[in-house]
């Protein structure tokens, strides 16, 4: 009986060890391969191209609500409520107050981050000499209707919802 018990315990131990080994790889593989992330990336690309590749939105019928969750929009609204004491006076989606649409269009890159549902949007904001890329890390999730929306800006202290 002792031997059987030992074998059972050993089997579980080995099995669990293999699981922990395999899991990280399979998760990474899923993020890069699954269709969800591709759709999320497409949404982010559409969002940036629509609102930031030119001074005016490409499609004026589309609004921020089509791409950004209401919790993010509400938070931004509250941060900019007092005109005499703005908490943020920049656009958190570009970390700035102005941009060169042509530069953003040409340099826009979106990559999945290590964690599921997190993506990095990178671009050259003005396309100037020696300009470093601006990185916006966002959390993208599906809403109840199955539409991908930006749920937080991870690298913004006011909008990371932590």
């Amino acid at each position: 009986m002792k031997i059987i018990s030992f074998l059972i315990v050993s089997f579980f131990f080995i099995y669990c060890k293999q699981e922990t080994k395999i899991n990280p790889h399979s998760v990474t593989g899923m993020v890069q391969e699954n269709t969800h992330s591709k759709e999320a990336i497409k949404m982010l690309r559409d969002f940036y191209l629509n609102f930031y590749s030119s001074d005016e939105p490409l499609d004026k019928k589309k609004s921020m609500k089509d791409f950004v969750s209401s919790r993010v929009l509400k938070r931004i609204d509250s941060l900019t409520k007092n005109p005499e004491n703005l908490i943020i006076d920049y656009d958190p989606f570009i970390k700035g107050q102005d941009y060169n649409g042509e530069s953003i269009k040409k340099s826009l890159e979106i990559k999945p981050l290590k964690n599921n549902d997190e993506y990095r949007v990178s671009f050259l904001q003005f396309g100037g000499q020696d300009e470093a890329k601006t990185n916006i890390d966002v959390l993208v999730k599906k809403d109840d209707s199955g539409k991908f929306l930006i749920y937080s800006i991870i690298n913004d202290e006011h909008l990371n919802f932590k």
């Binding site: 409520k81 005109p83 004491n85 703005l86 006076d89 920049y90 102005d98 060169n100 003005f126 020696d130």
Partner: protein, 783 residues
């Protein structure tokens, strides 16, 4: 209480008179009264501070005041006290406030330099210096915020006070110092005397004050300042720099030029071996006293008791400060008492070695050479010949079909164009280079970077800027870091162009080049084929087209390519590749275009990624790649490249003319498009309003409108930094710098009644932190 009359908004830079209002105050004026004038300045705290010069009031019924640009827009108060003497000597005089007048100096309508000073900061006597000191030149300017002021140093030979331009016309120190006018209206340049010591001493000693027999114990310096070559103002008090060349009565038998050391131990005179004479000679052996660049010369050496021994000669360019070595021969066997050596060409490369400061150096047109003959295998002393004014050989640079100008673009009108691209902050670089690459002596003390390395680096920086200016494009900082790292390694840290395998003896070198690069004498079939593939087709090409310059330009093919690119005869006059300026251009062009190996710098280094290790493949596989990588990483930290103004140098984006900016159009735009509330897009909306006014190509975070001269560059004027002292005008722009919690700053436009950014603001301040820090400036378009 009486009253004071005078201009309450004096224009800065102008002298204004203020007087007692006799009419208004007549009943109070006492016959035995005098008046003392004090100046007070309003403090941020709200109080007044007495800023009367040295605490000594001006006296009289009428006095003058002059304000300078830094205080434009600030509030002052002139206070006059009436001092009434007691009727009896024993009675103390009474002093009471007679009147006061608030004054706010206004910016000048005309941009100008008001005053220039030169001094030795931190010294007990700020008007005295040594050549190891750093002088400070300051220009106090009006309406020139953000503009570049050029300082020119002069040695004063005019007698008495003042500077006589005619007398001092030859005393210009060939180095222009530049500084940008800060928000206080002051441009300050640091003049490191040690950096230019040689040329300064040379200039100073060359011309004397009328009636003087020598320059004396001191060199007197003053500085002039100009903006775009105009509005020259000079400092009034000279700085006296101790003249290191001053010797009250030099001993006639003291050696003026110490002999070159040729051995580890001092040689003893050798009775049997003597070098008696040497001079430059033509092909027939006739003595040469004058020659043009491009010509071949030989050297005639007269010896005694040295047959069978060897000598070497060096050609020096004569300078009063220190001499420049321009050529040195290989080992020469003495076959007779009188020998005529093989010829060498005084090429542009040779000539260039005698020039310290480009075309501004007095040596850039004409030089004087003398000889030093060094015995190799006897203990005779080396000797110098022709060092007096009669013996020197004059070498002249003339434009003729036989001469080659290594920088053809410099002689045409284009060369007058100011280099605007890739301007490296020289002082910042040198300061940080010493920190990144510290050299210590045995005691562990830091050894400062030598002047020759500093000068070589400065030359390189100017050539880099000139290259990109000619190309009309901006440089990549990381490319520059890598190329400088390459130059550092290839030149053994001297940053002077070098010849390949220069440490080998002439014969060994020749053999090495034949084996490596000759199509006939190559050491293997592979090397021979490689030689032919690279256009080294004839026997002898191997020893001709060996490595020269910063990246060892090798093979006839590459010499030809560079000749075609830069219009300089490199195929026939290969020494031109050693010209500092050309060597820099060859390095940049060859590396960026992939001329050397087919691989380009941009394959490894871009704005967003850099692989300093593999970038070596652009030059030579991965040979020394790690070492250069290390250098590049450090050099990158030393590099500060000023904002690229290449586009500004073309007419396209020069400051807009006044007619092209329409304030009304700008204000209309911002009024019409303002949002109901802030969307964090102030810079975009103000920028678009400026665009609507007629100025294009302006972008950036709001803080950049405050931190840089972005608006000034386009023709706006900074009118002040105190909102309470400025009468706002429609179209005025307020730019706020970055403050805690607001990293991108803020910018807004005054529409005549309120401030508008991306929304119509309720107040000037859009966040508490801005009102706390008060880091802002107001800009105005003046038609």
């Amino acid at each position: 209480m009486g009253a004071i009359t005078g201009n309450q908004n004096p224009i800065v830079g102008e002298t204004n008179s203020y007087g007692i209002n006799l009419f208004g105050a007549l009943p109070f004026i006492s016959s035995n009264a005098s008046y003392e004038w004090y100046l007070f300045k309003k403090q941020k705290s709200g109080g007044w501070m007495d800023i009367t010069k040295n605490g000594v009031p001006k006296k009289g019924m009428k006095v003058d005041y002059k304000f300078f640009e830094p205080v434009a827009g600030e509030l002052f108060e002139i206070r006059v006290f009436e001092v009434v003497q007691g009727l009896l000597p024993s009675v103390e005089p009474s002093k009471k406030l007679f009147g006061k007048l608030e004054v706010t100096p206004a910016s000048s309508r005309n941009a100008q330099i008001d005053k220039v000073v030169l001094f030795n900061r931190g010294k007990k006597d700020i008007n005295r210096a040594n050549y190891t000191d750093t002088l400070v030149a300051q220009a106090f300017c009006t309406g020139l915020f953000g503009k570049e002021i050029e300082f020119q140093l002069w040695e004063d030979d005019a007698a008495g006070k003042g500077h006589d331009a005619a007398v001092n016309k030859n005393n210009k120190i060939p180095h222009v110092f530049k500084a940008t006018v800060n928000e206080r209206g002051i441009a300050e340049a640091k003049i490191l005397l040690s950096a230019d010591e040689k040329i300064m001493r040379q200039v100073a000693n060359k011309f004397l004050m009328k009636g003087d027999s020598d320059e004396g114990a001191n060199h007197e310096y003053y500085v002039t300042a100009t903006y775009l070559g105009k509005g020259e103002k000079a400092s009034q008090i000279n700085v006296l720099a101790a003249n290191p060349d001053y010797q009250p009565k030099p001993k006639t038998d003291s050696p003026k030029f110490p002999a070159t050391s040729t051995g580890k131990t001092p040689k003893q005179p050798d009775a049997k071996g003597k070098i008696l004479d040497a001079y430059f000679a033509d092909a027939g052996g006739g003595k040469l006293t004058k020659v043009q660049v491009g010509k071949k010369v030989q050297v005639k050496i007269k010896t005694s008791g040295m047959v069978g021994k060897h000598v070497q000669y060096k050609v020096w360019e004569y300078d009063l400060g220190s001499n420049d070595l321009v050529y040195e021969s290989g080992k020469i066997k003495v076959v007779n008492d009188l020998i005529l050596t093989g010829s060498f060409t005084i090429s542009q490369g040779t000539f260039g070695k005698g020039i310290d400061f480009g075309s501004m150096d007095s040596d850039s047109g004409k030089q004087n050479y003398f000889l030093e003959v060094i015995p190799i295998d006897v203990s005779a002393e080396s000797q110098k010949f022709g060092v007096n004014s009669d013996g020197l050989m004059e070498v002249e640079k003339v434009r003729s079909p036989t001469t080659v100008n290594p920088t053809p673009e410099k002689d045409d009108k284009k060369s007058d164009k100011k280099a605007d691209c890739c301007i490296i902050d020289e002082e910042y670089f040198l300061k940080n280079y010493e920190l990144e690459f510290p050299k210590k002596n045995k005691q562990g003390k830091l050894i400062p970077l030598s002047n020759s390395v500093k000068n070589s680096l400065r030359r390189m920086f100017r050539s880099i800027s000139e290259y990109y200016s000619n190309e009309k494009r901006c440089c990549n900082k990381y490319h520059i870091a890598y190329l400088l790292a390459t130059a550092k390694l290839e030149t053994g840290h001297t940053f002077d162009p070098v010849e390949e395998a220069n440490w080998l003896s002439a014969n060994v070198r020749k053999k090495y080049f034949q084996e490596m690069y000759d199509p006939v004498l190559g050491k293997s079939d592979k090397r021979k084929k490689m030689a032919k593939d690279n256009e080294n087709t004839k026997e002898g090409d191997g020893e001709k087209y060996y490595g020269r310059g910063y990246v060892q330009l090798t093979w006839k093919k590459n010499y030809r390519k560079m000749q075609e690119k830069f219009g300089v005869n490199l195929v026939d006059n290969r020494e031109n590749a050693l010209n500092h300026e050309l060597a820099v251009k060859i390095m940049i062009y060859g590396s960026e275009k992939g001329v050397f190996t087919g691989r380009k710098l941009s394959d490894y280094i871009t704005n967003n990624s850099k692989d300093y290790y593999n970038a070596r493949r652009v030059i030579n596989g991965v040979d020394q790649a790690a070492k250069i990588q290390g250098y590049a990483e450090k050099i990158e930290k030393c590099l500060k490249i000023k904002e690229c103004n290449c586009k500004e140098s073309s007419s396209k984006s020069k400051p807009q003319t006044k007619e092209k900016y329409n304030i009304e159009a700008a204000v209309n735009y911002i009024n019409k498009n303002a949002l109901a509330k802030s969307e964090g897009a102030c810079a975009k909306y103000v920028r678009k309003a400026i665009n609507a006014g007629g100025i294009a190509n302006i972008f950036g975070h709001a803080t950049e409108y405050y931190d840089t001269d972005k608006l000034v560059k386009y023709g706006f004027t900074k009118v002040g930094t105190d909102i309470n002292s400025i009468t706002l005008k429609k179209g005025d722009i307020a730019a706020f710098g970055s403050v805690k919690g607001h990293p991108y700053g803020h910018v807004a436009m005054w529409n005549g009644t309120q401030w508008v950014s991306d929304f119509k603001q309720k107040s000037f301040w859009v966040a508490n932190q801005y009102s706390t820090d008060k880091k802002y400036a107001i800009y105005r378009w003046n038609n």
